[in-house]
Amino acid sequence: MHDKVRVVIGDRLGKGQKVAKGVEEAGGIAIVIPGVGADMKVGDVMNKENADFGIAFCGSGGAGALTAQTKYGYPAEYGLRSIDAGITALREGKRVLGFGFMDIEELGRRLTEEYIKLIKRENKDV
């Protein structure tokens, strides 16, 4: 068990640092996967790190999320093009979010804030 929200980030172009900064601003722990094909390793790293959710970036916004879904059964949404679409996916229970390239702090911050809200709501309901 871990107290802080853990978010795995994999970007095909080796970016993701700004998203990571946003995650940390919101109080989460960001795990940025280095190297080639990082987006396709999101599921592996989520599984290894027991992460809360993952964000994959590639040209179609699909490869990382679909790989994680196929390999580990994580509920995934892909082809996302906006922060709001990502938030909606989280609310729908998706745990791997596949975006086109958008390495921006606001994305990491708002997704993490939303996830924390969802967890608090779940805990209240229990």
Binding site: L13, G14, M40, T70, G100, F101
Partner: protein, 132 residues
Amino acid sequence: MDEVKKILKEVIEEISKKEKITEKEREELFELLRLVKLNEKDGKFSFSFDRLVLIGYHLLAFIKRLETNEKLPPVEPGLWNEISPEVKKLSIEVLQKYVQRFKKELDKTEIFLLAVHFEVSKIKCVGGKNNA
């Protein structure tokens, strides 16, 4: 060849469950996927059905980017070092003819993105398995 055609059509069907594809895009995607699949012949690459679906999603996005002139961010310095020249060449071969038909230039980032799919397929192939 008929078997390849059947597989690729199934791949495109799978993609079309989630993505809107016009008839023209369907034909273009088939041709691009066929060029990718051809590279299995020398035994250095293995493209499972799931991997072809992922590549198909990627190539469909590539086709749409070309239609809309969408530009991608540049590749981070150093990442090219992890792509073998052979794989880079294959990626260019698959994409170049298609881009030339539209009298456009092939973006380096596009070469890199497809090359990663080839690289992953090659690496998985070494262990004898390709689980996408």
